[in-house]
């Protein structure tokens, strides 16, 4: 039976590059996929593009391409990535330039566009539903991107692209598209698309399948996490797959790591919505067939939804933050005094929400769940507030720093920051209102 080997080279925008190089060198793969777009990454990239029309793609695009492109071109490994972010055409042009500078000629690089629907929405494109409540006023919008499905990537694969750079596509589609392309799966064979989606979902966070975000010493030990290897799926034409990683790489691939990742960010396991299929993970099973080798099967699916999800990114005010530490005898009492001083000094500022935490004591889970915690030797007081203006938000950092000369004894390590909030809300629009486009470059 025909099989295809696919590697996951990144699970988020800032991910480590060495494991991707290892996959390209030793993974014996045909496709290397980089998933680099979190929910609001594209809105932040759109802000960068507004300032510079040639910007707006992944900040690590150049470093990644320089690291893997020669290896991939030499072995015929095709690269698929959403590193195009808010500007896939500029990402393709930059990749083309990098290929030429590395002496790689004839590399075909496709930019996939069509996910950016902000103009359409501003012009009054039909919105089917806003499941998270009404959209904010349009003057606060930064971006609106539809989650495209496999169709756009399939067109680029059929055109012979060696590198495919997209903006927003559904994460599993980055993996599902090459499977459909290789095996000739029908776009309405929902069970096969469901199985391919299981594989895509398992791989899309890269190291989180192979022992990353898993280790808990004494309970869940992971060998050589420092050299964590990224996953490979060897997928068969009937949709099951063998998951593995490069021999000798660090990490762990077991039924336990796979089960954690299968359910990661999943709500109802029977209905995982993507633009291509509503996948059913509820009967997936794993079998360890060797050291760091797990067989996955049992995915299924039903007909795809009639609408596309759109993420609207918008400006939503500012968050100001400040922190200062107290240590030694009576540290908690001095931190509590600092808290009451800050609360009084900030009371006159128009914050929509203000919060104080005692880091090291109860900042993560709150006072009730942390009630048995011993009083620590050192406490870090943290204040954070949300406000409409940058000036109001900035008052927190100033007031925290002022605790040095205007607060309790022995404060140290004051630190503050102010940042704009780029928030995300989703809407659904009809599938037929989206059309993608491919732009092909050759180095």
């Amino acid at each position: 039976m025909k099989t295809v080997r696919i590697g996951a080279g990144a699970g988020y925008s800032g991910d480590r590059i060495d494991p991707a190089v290892e996959l390209a060198e030793k993974g014996d793969i045909s496709y290397l996929i980089f998933e680099c777009l979190a929910e609001r990454t594209i809105a932040i990239a759109q802000e960068a593009r507004l300032l510079d029309p040639s910007a707006g793609y992944d900040p690590l695009l150049e470093a990644r391409m320089e690291a893997v492109l020669p290896l991939c071109v030499r072995q015929g490994i095709r690269i698929i990535s959403n590193m195009g972010a808010a500007n896939p055409r500029a990402a393709a042009a930059k990749t083309c330039e990098i290929a030429r500078s590395l002496g790689l000629r004839g590399v075909r690089i496709a930019a996939v566009t069509g996910d950016d629907v902000v103009q359409q929405l501003r012009a009054g494109e039909e919105i089917v539903e806003t499941p998270e409540g009404p959209l904010p006023p349009r003057d606060r919008w930064l971006s609106a991107n539809a989650y495209l499905g496999v169709a756009s990537i399939l067109d680029a694969l059929r055109s012979g692209a060696d590198v495919i750079l997209t903006g927003r596509v559904a994460d599993p589609a980055l993996f599902l598209a090459p499977l459909i392309h290789e095996f000739g799966w029908a776009l309405d064979d929902w069970n096969l698309l469901g199985q391919g989606t299981v594989v895509g979902h398992l791989l899309e966070c890269a190291g989180q399948l192979t022992g990353g975000y898993f280790a808990d010493p004494g309970y869940k030990d992971v060998p050589d996490l420092a050299h964590l290897g990224f996953p490979i799926a060897e997928v068969s034409s009937e949709g099951s797959a063998i998951l593995s990683k490069v021999e000798g790489s660090g990490g762990l691939l077991s039924c336990a790591t796979c089960t954690e990742q299968l359910l990661y960010e999943i709500q109802n396991p029977s209905a995982y919505y993507t633009p291509d299929v509503v996948a059913d993970f509820s009967h997936v099973s794993f079998e360890e067939i060797g050291p760091n080798r797990v067989r996955v099967s049992g995915g299924a699916g039903v007909v795809r939804p009639s609408s596309f999800k759109v993420s609207v990114g918008y400006r939503d005010g500012y968050i100001g933050e400040g922190q200062i530490s107290y240590a030694g005898p009576n540290a908690l009492a001095r931190a509590e005094l600092a808290h009451s001083i800050l609360a009084e000094r900030l009371a006159s500022h128009p914050f929509s929400e203000l919060r104080f935490d005692f880091i090291g004591l109860n900042s993560i889970h709150g006072p009730r769940l942390s009630k048995d915690a011993p009083t620590p030797y050192e406490i870090r007081l943290r204040a954070a507030g949300r406000a409409a203006s940058s000036a109001t938000a900035g008052s927190i950092a100033r007031e925290v720093e002022a605790l040095y000369t205007n607060g309790p004894a022995g404060g140290g390590g004051a630190f503050g920051s102010t940042r704009e909030i780029v928030a995300i809300i989703s809407a659904l629009i009809p599938q037929e209102s989206i059309c993608h486009e491919i732009t092909m470059l050759e180095s």
């Binding site: 954690e260 359910l263 928030a423």
Partner: protein, 99 residues
């Protein structure tokens, strides 16, 4: 005993939704976990951190439960003032449940 002796967990987030998977170390403990860690008990455990009921899905072939929790709309990853804005540490709090 604490739940962390019997099971492990991973937390994910989407907007104001937090999902926590709870997976038995040994398949034979799954029935006990399924019986003790009800949606209502998880909702009570996280009472001041979430809003509304908790949904629970069972995947016996994986020895796993999947919980869906909702935080307030001001408590999404982009707007939250919390140190752990994602809510990624909530799974660790679930493992502190007494069984």
């Amino acid at each position: 005993m604490l739940l962390n002796q019997l099971a492990h967990a991973r937390t994910g987030d989407k907007g104001n939704i937090v999902t926590i998977s709870l997976i038995a170390f040994r398949k034979e403990d799954f029935v006990l976990i399924e019986q003790k860690v009800t949606a209502a008990r998880v909702a009570a455990h996280f009472a001041e951190l979430i809003e509304g009921p908790v949904e629970r899905y069972c995947l016996p072939q994986l020895g796993a439960l999947n919980f869906v929790l909702r935080r307030s709309l001001s408590n999404t990853v982009t707007r939250s003032l919390a140190v752990d804005a994602h809510g990624k540490c909530l799974g660790s709090a679930l493992l502190a449940l007494e069984i």
